[in-house]
Amino acid sequence: MQETLSLRTLTRRQLLSRGVAAGAGFVVGATFVAGRDAAWATEMNALKPDTMATLIQMARDIYPHDKVGDQYYAAAVKGYDVPDEVDFAEDGIEMLNAKAGEMGFGQYLDAGWEAERVGILRAIEDTPFFQRIRGGLVTGLYNQKAVWPIFGYEGESYSQGGYIMRGFDDISWI
């Protein structure tokens, strides 16, 4: 997770006092997005903080894993926070929010239930915007080594001599 020194030096209370709630899980400030509990925060380089908060929620709604914290979803979409991707991301989220509006919500983050947000995503799932975000998450989320232990995946074992002495055949329930 990218954090800047300026955010690191703030206490949780100071951080939260500089932003407003966005959706259920986020606090958005003038230059940052943070978790509601201020356990993580990311400073914006190019995108509007509201856009990033919406992207993070969208990422979770596409690949929801209840044991995976928002900071990993934030890392998975952080790559769009660069000047070259501003038009793609801002236009895409504007389109997403417009679709939410058509479906009776002020904007995407105003839809409180996952099923409601998924309904909005289903309405745009054939768009290049959705498909690129989804495709990017396949590696952006699941190829983060930090999320592997949450799924029990152990990654490489060569450095430990493989599993020959470490449980390759230790299944006990058969």
Binding site: Y63, V138, F151, G155, G162, F168, D169, W173
Partner: protein, 522 residues
């Protein structure tokens, strides 16, 4: 004259590609004293270079030059630029392969005679048979150190295998074992025993799995008769006015166009690149491509009827621990049309790491139906289906309008399942799920085919010149000193993983070529 060889030396055999076909052929010829120049499009990577990380390894080893796709196979939609998952490196896909080394069943050499004509299929008997191939299989098994042959012990079963084996036996299957694998269970032939590390697909860091990269290639080079030129991308094969090939043009590691003269040329670039090269070598004498008077170059592309079955259980399996392909059920490999299809299939355990599971379990899927499956990744077991698919003339490799980094036309791969393929896959999905259901699976998931790893048939072997591209020795019907030495010469695919057969054919072809050279016939 010893390696390295001069580019104007027209006494050498040029082999294009250094995988299971080309790499073995190169060594076998070198051992017999034949001068060989092997041109390999990829670089050289050895066990210390292999990376046990799925995506990083993919970037290191996979053939990522452009290709295009068409047809109704799902790969064309999900992985439109990646029809195959094969390797561009010295040693070719023997770096990536899982190691399963099983012989064709005798009847599979005679598919047309055994199955009869199948509507829409371009079935043909091989011009060779099981008896003729038996001694070459013996040599291939010895070369690869195949477990459960030559008194070599089998590998121990890992967790994924134990679930698979117990379920298969509950179903009444009897041909269930840890496989005939080119992975050492004990130290053998200067290669150490398997350490159950996983990542067989990413190159074996112990060298326990046979790969031409660190066996046949260096052994051939040690004779002084083999020169391997890395990062040498062959553009076209040249011929003279008599219709004999005279050499090849290739782009060297610096991108400069070079020409190597040759007495004999052997094409072993796999079932996409080999027909591509023949088609890109069209000339006024061979307007439809080299060796293509039959019109069969590029046709009859086969990829095996595949698919996977993954299942989740109440308790952990940790399928990624140990050999990737850790065991096999062979009961369904028989030909038994009462099941609703001709030919048969093998079931073999398989595992993917979390990153590749996310990419391949159900490409394009999203939402909780998908993610709850991954939530149970630790409790997942998996198997792969590999069965005989029907050769079809319209399943073919053609030249695309897309060009590669050298300005050479790349291939388009068109593939659609035959009705027999679909019936077989559905039967296999049902049996695979039943194996896991017998073990109390909480969920089973029929998983679509991955980008192809078994690519076969696009320069097929035939008795008659009008039915195929090469003869019983892999020699082009149309060109006397041109050979095909890889899986593209397969007449039909059989149910078995193809590498052992490719190796056996390469050993046999080396014997033929060396004999013909000594008799002055080439």
């Amino acid at each position: 004259m010893a390696a390295p060889f001069d580019r104007n030396d027209d006494s050498v055999v040029v082999i294009i590609g250094t995988g299971a076909g080309g790499g073995v052929l190169a060594n076998e010829l070198a051992q017999k004293g034949v001068s060989v120049v092997a041109l390999e499009a990829g670089g050289r990577y050895l066990p210390e270079d292999y990376i046990n990380d799925e995506w990083e390894s993919f970037g290191q080893l996979a053939w990522l030059d452009p290709r295009t796709t068409s047809g109704d196979w799902r790969v064309a939609k999900d992985f439109s630029g990646l029809p195959a998952w094969i390797v561009k490196a010295v040693g070719g896909t023997t770096t990536h392969w899982a190691g399963a080394s099983i012989r064709f069943q005798p009847h599979e050499w005679k598919a047309l005679s055994t199955y009869g004509a199948v509507e829409g299929a371009n079935l043909l008997d091989w011009p060779i048979d099981a008896d003729e191939m038996a001694p070459w299989y013996d040599l291939a098994e010895k070369k690869l150190g195949v477990t459960l042959t030559n008194n070599l012990p089998g590998l121990p079963g890992n967790n994924n295998y134990k679930v698979f084996e117990a379920g298969a036996k509950k179903l009444g299957y009897t041909e269930v074992h840890t496989g005939r694998m080119a992975i050492n269970a004990v130290d053998n032939d200067d290669r150490m025993a398997c350490q159950q590390t996983g990542f067989c697909f990413q190159g074996c860091k112990w060298g326990a799995k046979w790969s031409a990269a660190y066996t046949d290639i260096p052994r051939g080079e040690a004779t002084g008769n083999l020169e391997v030129r890395e990062r040498a991308h062959v553009a076209r094969i040249l011929h003279d006015d008599s219709g004999r090939v005279t050499g090849v043009e290739y782009f060297d590691a610096d991108g400069a166009l070079q020409m190597q003269r040759a007495k004999v040329v052997c094409v072993a670039g796999n079932s996409f690149e080999s027909p591509r090269l023949l088609l890109n070598s069209a000339s006024s004498m061979f307007p439809d491509g080299l060796a293509n008077s039959s019109g069969q170059v590029g046709r009859n592309y086969m990829r095996h009827t595949t698919g996977s079955v993954y299942a989740t259980f109440e308790k952990p399996v940790r399928m990624w621990r140990g050999t990737t392909m850790a065991g096999i059920v062979q009961d369904e490999a028989r030909h038994d049309p009462s099941r609703g299809f001709v030919g048969g299939y093998e079931l073999e355990t398989l595992s993917l790491g979390l990153p590749f599971m996310a990419a391949f379990l159900d490409p394009g899927a999203w939402g909780r139906e998908f993610t709850t499956a991954l939530d149970s990744y630790e409790n997942m077991a998996g198997m792969w289906i590999v069965g005989e698919d029907m050769p079809q003339e319209s399943n073919r490799v053609t030249l695309s309008d897309t060009e590669d980094q050298f300005g050479l036309k790349v291939v388009n791969v068109n593939f659609s399942d035959h009705a027999n393929d679909i019936a077989m896959r559905n039967h296999a999905y049902k049996q695979g799920a039943a194996i896991y259901d017998a073990m109390g699976a909480t969920r089973t998931m029929p998983t679509p085919p991955y980008p192809s790893t078994h690519n076969l048939g696009t320069n097929r072997m035939s008795e008659r010149p009008e039915d195929g591209v090469v003869d019983r020795n892999g020699r082009a019907h149309d060109v006397p000193n041109l050979f095909v030495s890889d899986g593209s010469q397969f007449t039909t695919g059989a149910a078995e993983n193809p590498t052992l057969t490719i190796v056996a054919l390469a050993i046999r072809q080396a014997d033929h070529i060396a004999g013909e050279l000594s008799r002055g016939n080439l």
